[in-house]
Every structure is written in C-alpha cells, then in structure tokens.
C-alpha cells in the first residue's frame, strides 16, 4: 500500500482515538520519550501494559467468581489496573476503574461484576486500537515513510 495512504489512515485513526478519549495526552507524552536511543520504547511499554492488564482482569474475574468476595483484594487489583492504564494514557479504562473502586468500597458484588464487564470492553477497545496504530507505524516505516506528527 502507498505510503501516503498509510499515513492518511494513521492520521485518521489517531484523531478518532483521541476524540473518543480511548487514549489521552499521557500517551502523547510517552510517544515523545521514544527516540533513536530508545526506538522501541512505545512497543515495550504497550506490551507490558497488555500483559499486566490481562493478568489483572483474569485475577478480577477469579476474585468475583468466589462465593464470598474479598473486596479488599478486588480493590487492590482495580487500583493496580487504574494505575497502569493512567500511566499509558488509556483514559477510558482508567475512568471505569475509578467507578469500579466505588463498588468495591460499597461491597457491591453486582456493581463490581458490571464494572468488570465494562472494563473488559474498554480494555479490548484500547488494545485493538493500539495494535492497529502500531501496525500502521510499522508499515509506514517499512515503506520508507515517516510517521506523521500529531499536534
């Protein structure tokens, strides 16, 4: 595919992602930390986020599946997920985590289960968008083009 076409797709995808607050300015800050001395930084930190998030979502699912739910444990996992999603700029995941923690504080099992579903949805949304974005970047670079810088 032509470089210009790929770059257009990249610009459009980035615009959509930010408009929908799937990612926020924290992600942009991280992109600015990537340079010639650390060319794989974004890829590395995104991969770590995927690993950490999926592990936490798994733990949350198990914890909420128990007869007697340990809300402190659930809260600790959500706190972790909130932290790493904030660090990577996964805004919508972070926002659901904030609401999720309120359910934990109220020992509200149904509320927690609902929020777990929501956070799973938001996570998979940010994951697929990030994967598409990074794939486009790779294709652009492989075609000899440069990544458009967004304001």
């Amino acid at each position: 595919m032509e470089v210009a076409c790929l770059q257009r797709r990249f610009i459009d995808l980035t615009a959509t992602i930010f408009q929908q607050e799937i990612l926020d300015s924290q992600f942009t800050q991280l992109q600015q930390l990537q340079d010639e001395s650390s060319p794989n930084f974004i890829h590395e930190v995104v991969s770590l986020f995927f690993q950490e998030a999926e592990k936490l979502l798994n733990e949350l699912s198990k914890a909420l599946d128990q007869q007697i739910v340990d809300f402190k444990k659930v809260d600790a996992h959500v706190h972790r997920l909130k932290g790493s999603s904030a660090s990577i700029g996964a805004r919508r995941v972070k926002d659901v985590c904030i609401a999720f923690r309120s359910c934990c504080e109220e020992n509200n099992k149904d509320g927690c289960i609902q929020h777990l579903q929501q956070v799973n949805q938001e996570y998979y949304l940010v994951k697929s968008n990030l994967e598409d974005l990074l794939k486009l970047e790779k294709q652009i670079l492989a075609s000899g083009g440069s990544i458009p810088t967004m304001k």
Binding site: Q26, Q29, L30, L33, D35, S37, S38, F41, E44, V45, L48, F49, Q51, E52, A76, H79, R80, K82, G83, S84, A86, S87, I88
Partner: protein
Amino acid sequence: MMSLAREGSQGGRELHVLAVDDSSVDLAVIARLLRSSKHRVTTVDSGKRALELLDLEPNVNMIITDYWMPEMTGYDLLKKIKESSTLKEIPVVIMSSENVPNRISRCLEEGAEDFLLKPVRPSDVSRVCSRVM
C-alpha cells in the same frame, strides 16, 4: 559514606538511580524518563528487592519508589533506609497515583526528598534529579 555521582560525557552529573515499583508499566516509564536525562537506572519490583540490592551495591545516588506496593510500602522502605547508618544519606523520592495530603506529609516528615504524583512528568524528574546533583 556519600556515594559520588559520576561525571557524564557532557559534563553533567550522571546519577545512579534505583527505581522501585511493582507495576512493570510504571517502572518502564520512570526508567525511560531517567535514562533520557542520561542517568543510570536499576529497576526492582519490590521494597524487599530494593534492600537486597542496596546491601550489595550501596553506590546509589537516589531512590525513587512507588508508595503503594504489596508487602512493603514505599513509606516502609523509606523508614528502613533512614534507619540504616549506611543508607540514610541516600535521597528517597516517593511516587503515588493518589493525592493524599496525610500521606505526603508523613513521607516528608520521615525524610523523603520529594513526593511526586503519577503519572510522573519529565519536569518532575528533572527537578528532583537536579536537587540531588
């Protein structure tokens, strides 16, 4: 015993910073922030591992640690460092995703160099590093 920062290639001081955080994402981000300012970074994922490393290698110019970690919080780690005759001179910076005034004052009273809110910004890192250098 004070450990000396090395002279960096551009004449600026190069610090050896020990970064402590149970989140691999946050550890990667803080390490990148420090390395992009040309500092040497060692990363560990717990207070326990931090103390083990400091036992073997006390040549650390600054410790930057997350507050909320399982088993040993950043505050507990700070206390242990300040109670140690060999380690107490090392500046300790605490990071937290939560803005809890009590927590902040407790840490500062215990001798923390600074308290940073997460997500940490490049300007926060420059500020604490230049104070230490």
